[in-house]
């Protein structure tokens, strides 16, 4: 095989792994479909993967549970895991790399030096800023030091999952470690947020293939999320939407309506407020997603979702009142108070007029 450039292209490494060209074309087609691109883009992706030298990727783990990595390596197509993880030159990732300790750090620093300004930095996890960042240290450095160092020479940064995008559970009240999502820590680099706890594996694959194949970020929305996957609410692509529009709701999890598969809106489904692709791409190779399994969405890809009220009720807690006090309970109480006030005023003014009349 003729080596056209100093660095291997994606196609070259794919063929080297023992896949056929047919597998490669299937992979390109999968990716185009995931990215929501039209048919003609298949050729573009194949072309890009054929010609572009592989981009080095540094994948950092900070305060997180590694569910993003777990989701990613289970994404639908085997080439995703093999190529993206093993061969996209994932030069550094604590979870999956063979090297450890000094070796691992050395590999990372070599990549950072050699490919300065070219590598993609993927971040999984939030970064604690409290107590000088001492809550999360890797190789003797705090997460924030590690991150700043790696971000400096990155071509683009991908924030994987809700931890890196929103802070997730670590930043839930009272946020003891001052866990901070990474978009608040860097402003001079192209950044993409892929929220979800975890994000869907195919979504992650779609995003990273887009970045490495086209050398630029996919189209993003106002919150820096890829539009192809986060433009719609889970509610808008839900197969139970017809029950919502018909006003047919599950009232409790063991009722007849639940058996019939009615809409889970009233038992706390956060689908109407959550932007994600669960309804279309689904989970575990397209098997199902929470609502299909009879459980409401709890909005894991939304900002601050741990503090947004109870999972099984369609209520939003008012800050400072505790969860049992909702807008409606307070609203009803105050409406009652207003009504009492109005009635008292009416009675008092009537009495006053009577007194006035009797004086005259």
């Amino acid at each position: 095989m003729a080596v056209t450039s100093k660095r291997e292209t994606y196609l070259e490494s794919i063929l080297k792994m023992g896949y056929t060209r047919r597998d490669f074309m299937k992979f390109a087609t999968y990716m185009a479909a995931y990215m929501g691109l039209e048919n003609s883009a298949v050729g573009q992706i194949a072309h890009a993967l054929e010609k572009t030298p592989r981009l080095p990727v540094i994948w950092e783990h900070y305060q997180e549970c590694t569910c993003c990595s777990e989701s990613f390596i289970r994404s639908d197509h085997p080439i995703v895991a093999d190529i993206i993880l093993d061969k996209i030159s994932l030069d550094y990732t604590e979870t999956l790399m063979a090297a450890a300790g000094e070796q691992a750090e050395a590999a990372k620093h070599e990549t950072m030096k050699k490919y300065h300004g070219e590598y993609i930095l993927c971040v999984e996890g939030s970064i604690p800023l409290g107590d000088d960042g001492n809550y999360c240290c890797i190789a003797g450095k705090t997460a924030i030091q590690q991150f700043k160092e790696a971000a400096e020479g990155a071509k683009a940064i991908i924030a994987w999952g809700s931890c890196a995008s929103n802070g997730c559970v670590q930043s839930a009240k009272p946020n003891p470690t001052d866990a901070t999502p990474i978009h608040k820590l860097v402003s001079d680099k192209p950044l993409i947020r892929v929220p979800g706890c975890p994000p869907i594996g195919e979504v992650m694959a779609g995003v990273i293939v887009h970045v490495v194949a086209f050398g630029r970020l996919p189209e993003l929305d106002g919150a820096k999320r890829p539009k192809a996957f986060y433009a719609k609410r889970v509610h808008d692509s839900c197969y139970r939407r017809a029950y919502y529009d018909a006003g047919l709701f599950v009232e409790s999890f063991d009722d007849e309506n639940a058996k019939k598969g009615y809409c889970l809106y009233k038992v706390g489904c956060k689908g109407p407020m959550t932007y994600n692709a669960c309804g279309t791409i689904k989970w575990n190779n397209g098997v199902s997603y929470p609502i299909q399994s009879g459980h409401g969405c709890f909005g894991c890809s939304e900002d601050n979702f741990w503090d947004n009220g109870p999972i099984y009720e369609r209520l939003t807690a008012i800050p400072g009142f505790g969860i049992e006090h909702t807008a409606d309970s307070i609203g009803k109480a105050v409406t009652g108070a207003v009504a009492v006030g109005v009635a008292a005023h009416a009675v008092a003014s009537t009495i006053k007029n009577k007194l006035k009349k009797s004086e005259n």
């Binding site: 609410r233 047919l248 709701f249 601050n304 009220g309 939003t316």
Partner: protein, 228 residues
């Protein structure tokens, strides 16, 4: 009892009255449908989902009423610049000394019904249109209406195809999420409900106690004032 003489003053011009009733109607529809959307009643049905469209109609009514609300609001904003003195925007944000003294007068004697000195009560007559407390309340109401429009269209923008609601698509991003946006939308609805209750009560109260025809004034535009 000695006979009193009244003069008839034209206060509420036609656009103000159109605004008022369009606004009132849309608020009623918006609040009722909004409460249903927030917590839909449990309905049992023999029909399959494809045969009914109950929530769909409720939501469509909410959105149509929202457009009526915005249209009325735009009309009122326009009229705040070209209308008469009672409709002018300056009557809502005067913050002058006279305005403050009227404000305290209204709070003391109308709200808390403290006895007043008849000779000093001349101040009463500066409020042919809104009194100071009322105009200030409508200023708050206007701010609440703006919050409703921004959060409401912000939530709606994701499903919209028209450019106007799409102008508000930055709102949920700015506030953090749809959760927060919805919460603000919901709380503001309750605040508007409180103001509506107080508004209706005091209109009737003034009509009964001062006999100036306040209730009918929003239909025929005229208020009766005692000749002094």
């Amino acid at each position: 009892m000695k006979e009193k003489e009244f003069k008839r003053i034209y206060v509420w011009q036609v656009p103000v009255r159109i605004f008022h009733w369009a606004n009132a109607l849309s608020i009623v529809v918006l609040a009722v449908t909004g409460i249903i959307i927030a917590n839909p009643p449990a309905l049992q049905s023999d029909h399959e989902a494809y045969e009914t469209f109950y929530m769909g109609y409720v939501r469509v009514s909410h959105f149509i009423a929202a457009y009526v609300f915005v249209a009325a609001m735009l009309l009122r904003i326009y009229w705040a610049f070209v209308g008469n003195q009672y409709a002018h925007w300056k009557s809502f944000v005067p913050f002058t000394k006279k305005w403050f003294s009227n404000l305290f007068y209204v709070i003391k004697h109308d709200v808390f019904m403290l006895p007043y000195n008849e000779k000093k009560s001349k101040l009463l007559h500066i409020s042919v249109g809104h009194n100071s407390l009322a105009s200030f309340t409508y200023l708050i109401m206007f701010v609440l209406a703006l919050i409703m429009v921004f959060t409401g269209f912000g939530l709606y923008s994701q499903n919209a195809s028209w450019w106007l609601p799409k102008l508000f698509s930055w709102v949920p991003t700015f506030l953090g999420s749809d959760f927060t946006t919805r919460l603000i939308h919901h709380i503001s609805m309750w605040l508007i409900i409180f103001l509506v209750i107080i508004h209706i009560y005091f209109v009737i109260y003034h009509d009964v106690t001062e006999k100036e025809g306040e209730v009918s004034s929003m239909i025929n535009g005229h208020i009766f004032k005692e000749k002094s």
